[in-house]
């Protein structure tokens, strides 16, 4: 299955939920609306996307949104496993609670905890939402957002 066929398949599969489908490098990115994400996820799982490779969030301070992406693939169907499908949705930056997809994919368990600690986004419905890697005091600072700046040194020595 080529990447365009995969994109078409996903577009047909999520028909009414799709906001935008973008084909990247070895990656099909599907944008849905936040309120539809659980339904979309269930449909994706039925279609054979049986595990989450990673859950990530990207902060866009200029647009004022945060994108949350679930990268999906399949272990049980070989034809789906060639490329990765990103199921994403955007939320405003000041919103901090989104539905958890733990109920759909158990493999999202630790990944959602990681997004929670990095961005301060609470996944409603996650049974055990605690920071995974960071100390709680550091997780409070939402370090993966773009307004947390890590300064690099200049190349000149003082």
């Amino acid at each position: 299955m080529s990447i365009d066929e995969l994109a078409d398949m996903v577009r047909n599969l999520l028909a009414e939920y799709v906001v935008n489908v973008e084909v990247g490098k070895d990656l099909v990115h599907v944008e849905v609306k936040e309120e539809n994400v659980i339904e979309a996820a269930k449909r994706m799982k039925e279609a054979g996307f049986d595990h989450v490779k990673d859950v990530t969030a990207i902060d866009y301070p200029k647009e004022g949104i945060i994108k949350i992406i679930y990268h999906l693939s399949s272990y049980s169907k070989k034809e789906l496993s060639r490329y990765v499908v990103g199921l994403g949705y955007s939320i405003p930056r000041d919103k901090n609670s989104v539905p958890s997809l733990y109920g759909v994919w158990t493999s999202a368990d630790f990944q959602e905890r990681e997004v929670y600690e990095g961005f301060g986004i609470v996944f409603e419905g996650h049974p055990d939402l605690r920071p995974l890697l960071l100390a709680p005091t550091v997780a409070e600072l939402k370090p993966l957002r773009k307004d947390f700046i890590v300064k690099e040194e200049p190349i000149f020595k003082k």
Partner: protein, 417 residues
Amino acid sequence: MSARISGISGKVGFNDLKQLPGFWTRKLGKDLYEVFIGPQHPGSGHMRIIIRVDGDVIVEADPDMGYVHRTMEKLGEGREWIKGIPLYERMAIHDACNVTLPYVEAVEKLLGIEPPLRAKYLRVLLCEINRIAAFLYGFGIFGVFVGHSTMYMWPFGDREVWVELADWLTGARLTHSYPIFGGVRRDAPEGFTDSLRKAIRYMRKRLEEYRKIYVDNPVIRARLEDVGVIPRNLAIELGITGPNLRASGVEYDVRYNAPYEVYDELDFEIPVFQEGDSLARVWQRVEEIKQSLHILEQVADWLDKHKGEQIMHDRFWKTAPPLYKKVFQETGRVKLVPVFALLKVPKGKAYARAETARGEISYYVESNGANKPYRVRIVSASARNAIVFKYILPGHRVMDLPTIYGSIDYFPPEGDR
């Protein structure tokens, strides 16, 4: 490292701390005994597993990672593209080529370049050397977990053979920083493939001795057989990866499902064990070492046939001054054009994965056209395998914890990133 954190300000009192979610205490059931395995514990590595036991049986396990977390994703955002390579390889230094390769590939996808064929073979060469070394490292740790001190020393000693080869090829024992955008940094030196073939034959002989003293040792078999069984459907549901997944009967290997570099041109098998217990996971690794040796033989033959070919993409090599070519002719060292330091990568998103020794590592790379990545999301194999502890440990005995931990081959620095 050179980064300074800005943002932490003021003191945080204990009462403030108690409000934080990480300090939520969870109720301990009646008649349960809570044992903290780690982080300063000989059987845990740099992580903690909080287990609650009822008698000798674990009823709840909570892996507590993050003791060696190095904020690689955040640091990567603030640095130029090329600086990511030495940074990310530090998550698993004995598997350095495998863990950085997908990053290099993702950036190459965004740049729209493809390395020359010889560079691809050299990457595969180092990847497989690293894979064998990392498996041996895992065996060593597993040996000490089961109390088998010989199996601790032997693989660490034999790993030295592969580390020595990698050192000869790249100039560094562990942190090779070998693959680079558009190619690799050094060509295989004279006489390298002969030594490689010797090492392959030596390793085949040693695997038989490992079998005798360890894998087929009745004591070890008793410890491993039917312990930590991950059934096929649970393995898929938990999204675990690597040899652990294949030992549960799932035919999934990135080298097979989404081939990268030259893996689709090489002849090798993907062993898939059906049982899913700790012993199957050990056998899985033994078989994978055999396949890696088989791959290395083919790569050595190919490299001998195609000597002196270019190993850097034209984009970075055509404009190189004569001195660069002279150095390459004399020492096999690829000099980098200064543009690497300030490389601008076109806007876009790319996803790249590779099969490391412990499983699949995936990089989601997003660029906004600047000389630094906009976002790099790394999910390493150990980070995905850590979930096993939470879902598989309950129901086992306390003494099964090291066995399962070792057979999963969890490597905390890789999991914490």
